[in-house]
């Protein structure tokens, strides 16, 4: 007989004093006698860098990529000494034109950074209030490096929501110092202003990472899920028979609470929740049932259509005349953040039903409600009550009315002179007067017009051109049904392990990130066509924000959107929608993780080494084709400081500053080979850091070129050059004339083009040169 212990009916208490008394702890697989020390964080050389701590790195970048200034204005209008004219002169304070441009750029970057930082602070504080500061930051088992930017800059990892406060405290402190440098009589050197703009961009990176990290963990958004769901996109996906709540802006909280309220009430199917701009992207990350109307450029068109019963605005990129426009259709407006109060009464403390009644009865024009939960309730209740009343208002002027309005046109032509893209607005209106709406329709369905409304402001007969464009496009609205992959958040560590080597060695020809706003020169199709081009060529295509939506609004020759055609994996031929503008942090984050996971570079406090690694070895290129805002300026500048080049559309020249390399100056491209200690001849790779292209064709060729890096293996270089040559031949008709600069040895020559390239090399008296083993701008 075998004696066994009697079966216990009670689970053993492991929390009793017994264990404490023995001073031991239980762990799986081992008995330890004292608390296991946490993995020690390596403090790199520059944790929490102050304004000037990374100046030496900035100067290396600025030496190679000198700032190119294109002043908007010849004057400085900031202080009462002026106005001062700076054309060939200095201002009364001593500032010159270049320095003034740099100061303006720093101001723009700080505005953008403050927008993200303010947003992040709002999110973090609100989520801490809801969930507590100890709420764990956990991106699941596939993402160990949860905050690559924070780790690199702060020198430590955030493990709970409360830790994010420290990051924001630091960023806000730095922003305060940076802004103070813009005061009259402070910084007096353009390159130092640029160094400060880089620092502002880095703070922007940091705060974007904080914002997305907080919302991912606290709202349970996808955590690097390559199979994030395909969600609905487009005007035509909105069921106008239901009450419609539209969210505009960049803050997910009110939208999420609208979804929650509907869930709680069991009304998920009764109300349409949709969004424009980044709020749309983030709400669909929160709930697959929400819909994306489209990018920023849809804003006035959709408001004018009258479809939305309730318009909830939060912050950033919202039309400031949203209330005035909404009132025309009796849509109710709810403002939800301190950033945008719109002159509305603060009803945060008011009874929700009373607010609803006041909105319905027209006692108030709109409401400011700073509690997102209350926004959820008020928005839904208002939409439910308002929708039946507004049924007749969900229509635009009829076609006869458009023809009558168009016949008022006096042919002055100023509508097209003030149009940002010089669209033939007057011609379209004249055609409409003859009963032919095709030109107006083309402006709508081809997304040529982004409904800024400047034409209407200028029209001497007050012709509502945007409404006419909207109406003309309405016939096709029902067809505007697309799919977009919900924003997945960061790249997983395992994906980085898989692609790190191919990216650094050039086997994957590049990572191209299409991000940003919709100030496009020729409509959103341009972005989709560029994305398609690079997907077909085996690049990893990453996207966020309005750019992600524009890509979704295109169907290829098979009638599919690119999201349906390509998977969401961070790998060659993957179309990776990371999320909203704050998710851009994951683009730099992926590059940082390549340095850490693939190359074992320590992150903590080690900004310069990581940025140097990215600049010289990670073939990534950002594209902000329609960049318009100060946030986009801050994002691009932050990305640049990490060593990632960015291509802007032609409107990007109006940021007043670019960073251009000089391929003809060989001294600028010398590299330190850290392995051998030698200084060796380099190549213009990447050629520019911030570039504005004039059209899509030019941009496409430039993007391929900007993915070239000194560490490409001969095989990788062949692949990159094949793409560069192919695209150059496609759009320019020839092999590029600068190909010799990128051929280090004959092994780099793409086999298909060998004969033609050899001919060019002979003509240029080309000589082979050494491949660097460990290229760097830093000293050994």
């Amino acid at each position: 007989m075998i004696d066994v212990a009697p079966e216990s009916k009670k689970a053993k208490n492991l929390k009793g004093d017994f264990w404490d008394a023995k001073n031991i702890q239980i762990s799986i697989g081992e008995i330890i006698t004292e608390e296991k020390p946490q993995e020690e964080e390596v403090k790199g050389p520059k944790p929490r860098p102050h304004v000037t701590d990374l100046r030496s790195w900035d100067m290396k970048l600025l030496e190679r990529y000198e700032p190119f200034y294109a002043p908007f204005c010849d004057m400085c209008c900031l202080c009462t000494y002026g106005k001062c004219e700076l054309l060939g002169k200095k201002g009364a304070c001593g500032i010159d034109a270049a320095t003034q441009q740099a100061r303006t750029v720093l101001l723009a970057c700080l505005i953008g950074t403050a927008a993200h930082a303010g947003h992040a602070r709002h999110l973090v504080e609100h989520l801490i209030e809801r969930l507590g500061e100890d709420y764990k930051i956990d991106l699941g088992s596939n993402v160990d490096i949860e905050a690559p930017i924070t780790r690199t800059v702060m020198g430590k990892r955030p493990s709970k929501l409360g830790d994010l406060r420290e990051v924001l405290d630091y960023a806000e402190e730095q922003m305060s110092h940076l802004l103070s440098a813009c005061h009259t009589g402070q910084e007096g050197d353009s390159k130092d202003f640029e160094s400060k703009a880089f620092h502002a961009g880095l703070m922007d990176d940091l705060t974007r990472e904080v914002a997305d990290l907080a919302q991912i963990v606290a709202l349970d958004l996808p955590k690097g899920d390559e199979d994030a769901p395909l969600v609905e996109l487009g005007f035509g996906t909105i069921d106008t028979e239901k009450p419609v709540v539209l969210c505009i802006g960049h803050n997910v909280l009110p939208g999420a609470d609208i979804v929650d309220y509907l869930d709680e009430q069991g009304m998920e199917d009764e109300v349409e929740v949709c969004g424009i701009c980044c709020a749309a992207i983030d709400v669909t990350r929160y709930s697959e049932a929400a819909k994306v109307v489209g990018p920023l450029s849809k804003q006035l068109r959709f408001i004018r259509s009258g479809v939305a019963d309730v318009i909830v605005v939060d912050e950033q990129c919202v039309r400031t005349d949203v209330l005035e426009e909404a009132l025309k259709n009796r849509s109710a407006v709810i403002a939800t953040t301190d950033k945008m109060c719109l002159g509305l009464p603060d009803l945060t403390g008011e009874d929700p039903d009373k607010i609803v009644n006041d909105l319905i009865n027209g006692n108030i024009e709109g409401a400011l409600i700073l509690d997102p939960e209350k926004v959820g309730e008020v928005a839904v209740k208002t939409a439910m009550k308002l929708a039946p009343i507004r049924k007749s208002l969900k229509k635009l002027p009829d076609l006869d009315e458009i023809i009558r309005l168009a016949s008022e046109c006096t042919d002055c032509g100023w509508c097209q002179r003030v149009c940002p893209n010089s669209l033939p607005v007057m011609d379209a209106v004249k055609k409409a007067a003859e009963g032919d709406l095709s030109k107006l329709e083309e402006m709508a369905i081809e997304e040529l017009c982004y409904t800024c409304g400047r034409c209407e402001q200028e029209c001497e007969r007050n012709i509502p051109i945007v409404s006419m464009v909207t109406k003309a496009g309405e016939r096709r609205v029902k067809d505007e049904k697309y799919k977009i992959r919900a924003g997945r958040g960061p790249a997983q560590d395992v994906e980085i392990r898989r692609v790190g080597a191919p990216i650094v060695l050039g086997d994957i020809p590049g990572v191209v990130a299409f991000v940003g706003c919709s100030n496009y020169p020729e409509g959103g199709k341009d972005v989709a066509l560029m994305a398609k081009e690079f997907l077909e060529r085996n690049y990893i295509v990453v996207t966020t924000g309005c750019g992600a939506m524009s890509i979704g609004e295109y169907r290829d020759e098979d009638g599919q959107t690119l999201y349906e055609k390509y998977g969401g994996q961070f790998d060659a031929r993957g179309l990776v929608n990371m999320g909203s503008c704050v998710s851009n942090a994951h683009v730099s984050g992926a590059a940082i993780k390549i340095a850490n996971i693939f190359a074992q570079k320590p992150l903590e406090g080690n900004f310069e080494e990581i940025a140097d690694y990215i600049l010289n070895r990670v073939g990534a290129c950002g594209v902000a084709w329609g960049a318009y805002s100060q946030k986009a300026a801050a994002i691009a500048t932050g990305v640049n400081r990490w060593g990632i080049p960015v291509v802007l559309g032609p409107h990007g020249s109006k940021y007043r500053r670019l960073f251009l390399g000089r391929p003809d100056d060989e001294e600028k491209w010398k590299l330190n080979d850290l392995r051998t200690g030698e200084v060796i001849d380099g190549e213009p790779a990447p050629e520019h850091l911030l570039y504005a292209a004039e059209n899509r064709e030019e941009a496409t060729v430039k993007i391929a070129k900007l993915c070239i890096r000194p560490t490409d293996t001969p095989k990788g270089r062949q692949m990159k050059l094949s793409n560069y040559i192919d695209l150059h031949r496609k759009y320019f008709g020839t092999i590029p004339d600068d190909i010799d600069r990128f051929i280090r040895t004959e092994k780099d020559i793409p086999i298909v083009y060998k004969r033609d390239v050899m001919k060019i090399l002979e003509e240029k008296n080309w000589k082979p040169r050494k491949l660097p083993k460990e290229p760097s701008l830093l000293e050994r």
Binding site: C73, P650, E694, E698, F732
Partner: protein, 173 residues
């Protein structure tokens, strides 16, 4: 319809940058500027790819034997029309032009006059602003159908027919 006063304010009126604006030139004056220049350069943008603008541009280039830079993807159109050019982005050529030590398209030294045609209005305006501020060694002339206030000299705003007559006059003699 472009009335008299509208001819001499910028085509996109908000690009006015300050007190100094371009002088208005006729085709005759533009021709004289090119003849007087020692090292002129023609910069041709993508809006000049369509006919009949392209034909006028080709004739002007041949008439004055101008070295040419093509911006965006204009290179192909000009090449097919039998004109060799150097393809560069508009911001790249502007960047080179502001450097007094750049050797120029023909390697003979920095240019002293740059003639622009066919670049997208607002990016050209920004580039001209760069040259206005940071390239005092260069005169800029625009022969588009739109008035460019940031140039040193510009054709006025006009309609296509008048513009083609202007362009024709530049190579008619």
């Amino acid at each position: 319809m472009i009335v008299l006063n509208d001819r001499i304010i910028p085509w996109q009126p908000t690009v006015i940058a300050g007190p100094k604006q371009a002088i208005l030139v006729t085709p005759e004056t533009a021709t004289m500027m090119i003849k007087k220049a020692r090292r002129p350069l023609m910069v041709v943008g993508p809006l000049a790819k369509r006919q009949p603008v392209l034909e006028h541009v080709v004739k002007i280039i041949r008439h004055f034997d101008l070295p040419v830079v093509t911006t965006a993807d204009t290179y192909r159109a000009l090449s097919e029309a039998g004109i060799e050019s150097e393809p560069r982005g508009i911001v790249e050529i502007t960047n080179l032009l502001k450097d007094p030590s750049w050797e120029g398209v023909r390697g003979e030294g920095q240019h002293d006059l740059v003639i622009f045609i066919g670049c997208i209005y607002y990016i050209a305006s920004q580039g001209l602003s760069t040259l206005k501020h940071f390239a005092p060694h260069i005169k800029t002339l625009t022969i588009c159908r739109t008035f460019h206030s940031n140039a040193d000299a510009s054709f006025p705003n006009m309609d296509d027919d008048e513009w083609f007559r202007y362009l024709e006059k530049m190579y008619a003699e």
